[in-house]
C-alpha cells in the first residue's frame, strides 16, 4: 500500500480559506450518475466532495436530501453498489509519483445502520480501497465512536468528522476538538439540512464565539449554505463551507448534468 497524506489534511494544509465542500447523494439523480457527479465536481474545482450513502430514515435531513435518498434507493443504490461504482472511478487511481495530488478530498456521509450491516471493518477496508479520506456519520456519537469504532477507523487511516451546533457547550466543543482530525463540521443553526437559508446575526454571534475558542482543528460551516453570498459569509468565520441541499436542488433542475454542475460551482466560487 502506498502511504500518502490524507487528502483532507492536505486540503487544509495547502489552503486556509474559501474551501468548498459539496455534498450529493450517491445514485441521485440516476443510479449511475455517482461517478459523473464526482468527476464534474473535481473538474469544477470543489476542494472536498461528500458522497451521501442513501438511507431509508435520514433523521438529520430536511425534505431535499430525504427526497434524494428516496430516489437513490428506488434507483437501486446500496452501500455495496456504491463501493463498486467508486472502484471504477478514474480519479481514484493516483498517477505514479504524485499520489493523490490535486485531487479533491473524498468523504462518505451516511447513517450508522447501513454501515453496521455492512460491517464496520469491512466498510473501512472498502472505503480505503476506494480512496475515501473521511466519513461523517451523524448518528454515531463521540462516546460510542471512541469506545467501539475508533481503532478500526484509525487502522485504515479514515478520519471521522464530528459535528458541533449552536447548542453544543464550550466544554463539549473542546472535547470534540481534542478528538478531531481533518476538520470540525460546524452546523450553522439548530436545524435539519436545507431548512434555514442564509446566515443571520444570531448565527454570526455563534460563529464568533467558536472562532474565539481558537480550536486546533479547522472548521467548515454547513447547513443553510446555498449560494455565493452565504458561502462568502461563512468563509469569513471558518476555513470554508459545505453545500448540500442547494446542490441537490441544482442537480434536480439541470437537464444536462455536466453543464449544471459546472455552472453551479461557478455561481459559488
Amino acid at each position: 500500500m502506498i502511504t500518502m497524506e490524507n487528502r483532507i489534511e492536505r486540503v487544509f494544509r495547502e489552503k486556509k480559506n474559501n474551501i468548498l465542500s459539496v455534498y450529493f447523494t450517491a445514485g441521485f439523480p440516476e443510479l449511475n450518475s455517482t461517478n459523473v457527479v464526482i468527476d464534474e465536481l473535481r473538474k469544477a474545482g470543489a476542494d472536498m466532495i461528500e458522497i451521501g450513502i442513501p438511507f431509508s430514515d435520514p433523521l438529520a435531513d430536511g425534505p431535499v436530501i430525504q427526497h434524494s435518498s428516496e430516489v437513490a434507493l428506488k434507483n437501486g443504490m446500496s452501500l455495496k453498489l456504491l463501493f463498486e461504482q467508486l472502484k471504477k472511478q478514474s480519479t481514484f487511481i493516483p498517477p505514479a509519483g504524485q499520489a493523490g495530488n490535486q485531487q479533491p478530498a473524498i468523504l462518505l456521509m451516511g447513517y450508522l445502520n447501513p454501515i453496521l450491516q455492512f460491517g464496520v471493518e469491512n466498510f473501512c477496508k472498502e472505503a480505503k480501497e476506494c480512496g475515501i479520506d473521511g466519513v461523517i456519520i451523524p448518528d454515531l456519537p463521540l462516546q460510542e465512536y471512541l469506545h467501539e469504532y475508533k481503532p478500526i477507523f484509525d487502522k485504515y487511516g479514515i478520519l471521522n468528522i464530528f459535528l458541533i451546533t449552536p447548542q453544543t457547550s464550550d466544554e463539549r466543543i473542546r472535547l470534540i476538538d481534542s478528538h478531531s482530525k481533518g476538520f470540525i463540521y460546524m452546523v450553522s443553526s439548530s436545524s435539519t439540512t436545507g431548512i434555514k437559508a442564509g446566515i443571520n446575526t444570531t448565527q454570526e454571534g455563534y460563529f464568533r464565539r467558536i472562532k474565539k475558542l481558537k480550536l486546533k482543528t479547522p472548521l467548515m460551516i454547513g447547513f443553510g449554505i446555498s449560494d455565493r453570498n452565504s458561502f462568502a459569509k461563512a468563509c469569513e468565520f471558518a476555513n470554508g463551507a459545505i453545500i448540500g441541499s442547494g446542490f441537490i436542488k441544482a442537480l434536480e433542475k439541470g437537464t444536462d448534468l455536466k453543464t449544471g454542475i459546472s455552472n453551479f460551482i461557478k455561481s459559488i466560487k
Binding site: 433523521l59 451523524p138 464530528f162
Partner: protein, 392 residues
C-alpha cells in the same frame, strides 16, 4: 441477571443513544435530570394524585370468569382500557408532561401510530395548558380518523408525515426532526420504550405502575404477589414493559410478549420483529430491527396501527436475547377472533393491539390452577370500523 438499564444506557447489548449532535444537549439534559425529578417528593405527589383522580387508577384487575372457564384456567385482565383516554398510554404522558414542565419546556411534540399516544399527549397538554403538536403518518390519519378528531378537539395540531411509508416510523422521524429544529423550548414525549437513552428507561418507569398494581391486587385477591404468566402485546413495547417491570427479577413468573404477525410471519406482511429482525439502529437506539441486507429499515405490517413498528424497545431486545421473556406472535385473524370472543364472553371490546395478547390464550394451554394475567392495554372504540367490517 439484571434486566434494568445500566449506567451507560444499555440493556445488555441493546440501547444506547445514537443521536445526531443536534440532539445531544436535549437528551443529556433529560439524562442528567430525569431520575432526580421523577423521584422528588413534589413530582411523586403530583404524579400519583393525577393517576388517581384524573386517570382513574388503580385500574381494576378483573377475574374474567367466563373466559377462564373457556380456557380452563384463571385469566385476570388488567384493565388499562378503563383509563382516561382508553389505554395505558396516559401513564407515560402524565409523567413526561410533569417532567417537561419542571424542565421549563413550553412546547410538546409527539408521534403517534394508532392515535392513542397522540390523544394521551393532547389530553395532558390541554390539562397543563401547553402547546401540542402531534406527528402522524398520512396512512394512519386515514385509518384512525376518530382519534385524529379527538386530538384536534383537545387543541393539538396534527401534522401528517408524508415521507416513506407514512406510518409510525415516519411520524417518529418527523417528531425527531422537529426536535432538532426546536431544541430549546420543546420536549418530545416519546410514546413507547424506544428512542435514545434515557427514554426507554423513563417510559418503562412511568408504565411500571401497571405491574406494581398487579402485584398488590393479586396479593389482595389470592394472597400471592405474582401470577404464573403475564401476557402483553408488543409493538414498541411500553405496555409490556410496564406489565413485566416488577416481575423481571422473579423468574417464577413467565413473561410472554406477543408480536403482530400480520398476514403470517413469513408472508411479507408482518411486524414480528424478533423473528424477522436483526440488531440495528432505529430512532437512536440499538435494538432488534426489521431491515434489508443493505441496512435499510423495512416497513412492517399489522392490522393494528399500534403494533406495526419495525423495531422494538431495547429492554425487550435484551429480554429476548437472554430468554427472560418468550416472544410469540399472533396474526390479524387470530387477533380478530380474540376480539369477538372477549366481546361475547365478557362484554368487553378490546383494542386490536391488546387482542394480540388475548389471542395467545388459545396456544398457552395454562393449567387449571395457574394464574394468567393479560394486560388489556386499550379499549376498542377506535377500531370499531374494522370490527363492523369484519363482523359478518
Amino acid at each position: 441477571m439484571n434486566y434494568q438499564v445500566n449506567e451507560k444506557g444499555y440493556y445488555g447489548n441493546f440501547g444506547g443513544a445514537y443521536i445526531p449532535e443536534m440532539l445531544v444537549p436535549n437528551v443529556e439534559e433529560l439524562r442528567e435530570n430525569y431520575l432526580k425529578i421523577i423521584y422528588s417528593d413534589s413530582f411523586q405527589k403530583e404524579f400519583n394524585d393525577l393517576l388517581r383522580d384524573y386517570v382513574g387508577r388503580p385500574s381494576p384487575l378483573y377475574l374474567a370468569t367466563r373466559l377462564s372457564e373457556h380456557y380452563q384456567t384463571n385469566v385476570y385482565l388488567k384493565r388499562e382500557d378503563l383509563n382516561h383516554t382508553g389505554a395505558h398510554k396516559i401513564n407515560n404522558t402524565i409523567g413526561q408532561v410533569l417532567l417537561a414542565k419542571r424542565l421549563g419546556k413550553t412546547r410538546i411534540i409527539a408521534e403517534t401510530g394508532a392515535g392513542q399516544h397522540g390523544v394521551a399527549t393532547a389530553t395532558v397538554c390541554a390539562l397543563m395548558g401547553l402547546e401540542c403538536i402531534v406527528y402522524m403518518g398520512e396512512v394512519d390519519i386515514q385509518r384512525q380518523a376518530p382519534n385524529v378528531a379527538r386530538m384536534k378537539l383537545l387543541g393539538a395540531k396534527v401534522v401528517p408525515a408524508t415521507c416513506g411509508s407514512k406510518t409510525l416510523k415516519d411520524a417518529t422521524n418527523e417528531a425527531i426532526r422537529d426536535w432538532i429544529n426546536n431544541p430549546v423550548n420543546t420536549h418530545y414525549i416519546i410514546g413507547s420504550v424506544v428512542g435514545p437513552h434515557p427514554y426507554p428507561d423513563m417510559v418503562a418507569r412511568f408504565q411500571s405502575v401497571i405491574s406494581e398494581e398487579i402485584k398488590m391486587q393479586l396479593t389482595e385477591k389470592i394472597k400471592r404477589d405474582h401470577p404464573d404468566y403475564v401476557i402483553a402485546c408488543v409493538g414498541g413495547g411500553s405496555n409490556a414493559a410496564g406489565a413485566f417491570y416488577h416481575f423481571l427479577d422473579n423468574e417464577k413468573v413467565k413473561l410472554i410478549a406477543v408480536e403482530a404477525a400480520g398476514k403470517g410471519v413469513y408472508s411479507g406482511h408482518s411486524a414480528a420483529t424478533m423473528v424477522l429482525g436483526k440488531p440495528g439502529i432505529i430512532h437512536g437506539s440499538k435494538t432488534m430491527l426489521m431491515q434489508t441486507d443493505d441496512g435499510q429499515i423495512t416497513e412492517p405490517y399489522s392490522i393494528s396501527a399500534g403494533l406495526d413498528y419495525p423495531g422494538v424497545g431495547p429492554i425487550h431486545a435484551n429480554l429476548f436475547e437472554t430468554g427472560r421473556a418468550a416472544f410469540v406472535n399472533a396474526t390479524d385473524e387470530e387477533a380478530l377472533k380474540a376480539v369477538f370472543l372477549l366481546c361475547k364472553l365478557e362484554g368487553i371490546i378490546p383494542a386490536l393491539e391488546s387482542a394480540h395478547a388475548l389471542a395467545h390464550l388459545e396456544k398457552l394451554k395454562a393449567k387449571k390452577n395457574e394464574i394468567v394475567v393479560v394486560n388489556l392495554s386499550g379499549r376498542g372504540d377506535k377500531d370499531l370500523a374494522t370490527y363492523i367490517e369484519k363482523m359478518q
